[in-house]
Subunit: 337 residues, 2 copies
């Protein structure tokens, strides 16, 4: 007799590139918020590669995801009912609400309200959200590109890569992207303003990268891992800094692609692991700097929207295949009540 809360649940765990068939639509019970909880309605789902890990039973700091469980994700949601003094009906938050229409979540763990004056709501899971903060941490804390240095980022058309390159360029570096299609490379250079972008799906992409980085590579934000990290490693300058961040290629199976470290030793490179949750306290500082740039069109991330919860699996599969362009978002509820 339940129902009224459409959900996307996991049908089966498996390795490999995910398929639409790994998901199922379910009709869940309308959640009832308990004491201290909020009832929220999702507006925008944020599709992120780390969800792939959870789908095969890897927790990534979250609970394990088993068949029948609602796919989780950090989404933009509006408070519909509040049993917590810090939140009022109508507040918009970014929280772990899962792939469903409604969720009951603890007010104590719901995080900050979105400042709706900063930009469109969807930017809070993109350029003004976790992807932006990831890029900020990498560029300003870990790599700190010097004026005139060469900064390279992989998955450059994606939300983290796009912001990495734009921030590095603002810091006076030459920004070079690596992306997976001619269309993405155009976005990277024409819209994001990188100095160059190399399509790694061409045979001579390593030569093209060399040509795009005539003075070698001083900083590299790695969003990919595996063979790409190895290949870029060969072109590092001595004392280069590398941020190790996402590794979507590794999310398809339970083992990470191994890397030969010899070249990194020879280059005296510094490799730094980045987990964005460490930098949550930097969010106000990041927003102070980034929000005006976004408003003035000086910091951009293309968003790739689809509508309807039932379309989330197909959109996610496109993301994991590298077929989408820009920050993948699913609109599942109205922005205004």
């Amino acid at each position: 007799m339940a129902g009224g809360n459409k959900q996307i649940v996991l049908k089966r765990q498996r390795d490999g590139v995910p398929a639409v068939d790994d998901f199922a639509v379910a009709d869940g019970a309308m959640p009832q918020p308990g004491p201290g909880q909020l009832l929220v309605r999702n507006i925008y789902l944020s599709l992120d590669p780390f969800i792939r890990k959870a789908m095969r039973g890897d927790h990534h700091g979250y609970a394990l995801l088993n068949p029948g469980d609602v796919i989780y994700g950090r989404n933009v949601a509006r408070v519909v009912r509040s049993n917590h003094p810090d939140y009022a009906v109508g507040d918009v938050i970014v929280a772990d609400t899962g792939w469903q229409q409604f969720a009951a979540i603890d007010g104590a763990r719901a995080g900050d309200r979105i400042d709706q004056t900063l930009g469109p709501l969807s930017t809070s899971i993109g350029v003004l959200g976790m992807p932006g903060l990831t890029a900020w941490a990498s560029v300003t804390h870990l790599i700190q590109p010097a004026l005139g240095s060469t900064f390279v980022v992989s998955a450059a058309a994606g939300p983290v890569g796009a912001i990495c390159g734009q921030l590095a360029k603002r810091a006076g570096a030459r920004a070079v992207g690596i992306a997976g299609s001619a269309e993405k490379c155009q976005l990277v250079t024409r819209t994001y303003g990188f100095d160059a972008c190399v399509n790694y799906k061409t045979n001579d992409w390593e030569e093209a990268l060399k040509a795009a980085c005539p003075d070698g590579i001083d900083g590299y934000h790695d969003n990919v891992g595996g063979a790409m990290l190895q290949a870029v490693g060969k072109q590092l300058n001595h004392y280069a800094t590398v941020t190790l961040c996402g590794r979507p290629g590794d999310y398809f199976s339970s083992t990470f692609t191994p890397i030969q470290l010899g070249a990194f030793v020879g280059k005296r490179a510094k490799l730094k692991g980045l987990v964005v949750y460490d930098y949550q306290q930097d969010m106000p500082e990041y927003l102070r700097i980034a929000a005006p740039l976004v408003r003035d069109g000086k910091l951009k991330v293309k968003e790739d929207h689809v509508s309807g919860l039932e379309n989330a699996p197909a959109h996610f599969v496109r993301l994991m295949k590298g077929d989408n362009v820009g920050k993948a978002i699913v609109a599942v509820g109205p922005e205004k009540v």
Copy 2:
């Protein structure tokens, strides 16, 4: 009609652990120093793992080593004749003189004279030489262990590892070694004064390391690479720093053992490649600090001497098998003329 200069030459290049049979004794011509050159007589050969790479045709920054070539190495040698104004007969230097009795080398590339007041001549290729400087660079520049932090080093009974741990301990860290026998572990704790040492040739060594590092690992100087780096990586604390230095396990073949970087990302680790030649300008500073400690018995490296050039191959094979204990040195000529 030549002769008079006994040499050890390469008989054949091959992968795998080297054997005495890969070397041959030769009777070379007595070298004649040209203009600007020095004729030197070797006193102590320094046996170093990097020589293994050269033996299979990998240059390690040197020229390739082909069958028939004299094995090279940076040794302690006395100037016998000088055609260069900066050097006089009787000066002792550390220079690339190879595994032979005599060598003619360019004065311009001969490097600094040894200050014979600092300690026994053999320390200039050990605790007061390149191994010491390597440890100095790792501890004081790259890892910078905090007071009360836990510092781990592999190949801890070897000259670099021994000094790493002793310097880290002087900086207020807890020093834990990893070595390949009970005898080596005794040397590490009793003679070098580490807080603990783990024998990695026991089955439960990872558990033993955990027990020896109850607060986790904050700094790790990796002398080994491959599986050991991977294993220690699992026990790193968040934000740990790792120096990537020697990889003798990788010197046996032309490919480096690959590493899975996932754990290092999760730990937000910093991995830093170290090549000691970058720190040559630090040598006076290092000697200023280390020489009095060596003199007072507060900084120690056991030396493992054999006599006679013809015994160099067997001594080197022992080193590469991990069967020797301490800095491997071959005495090939008199200290005093």
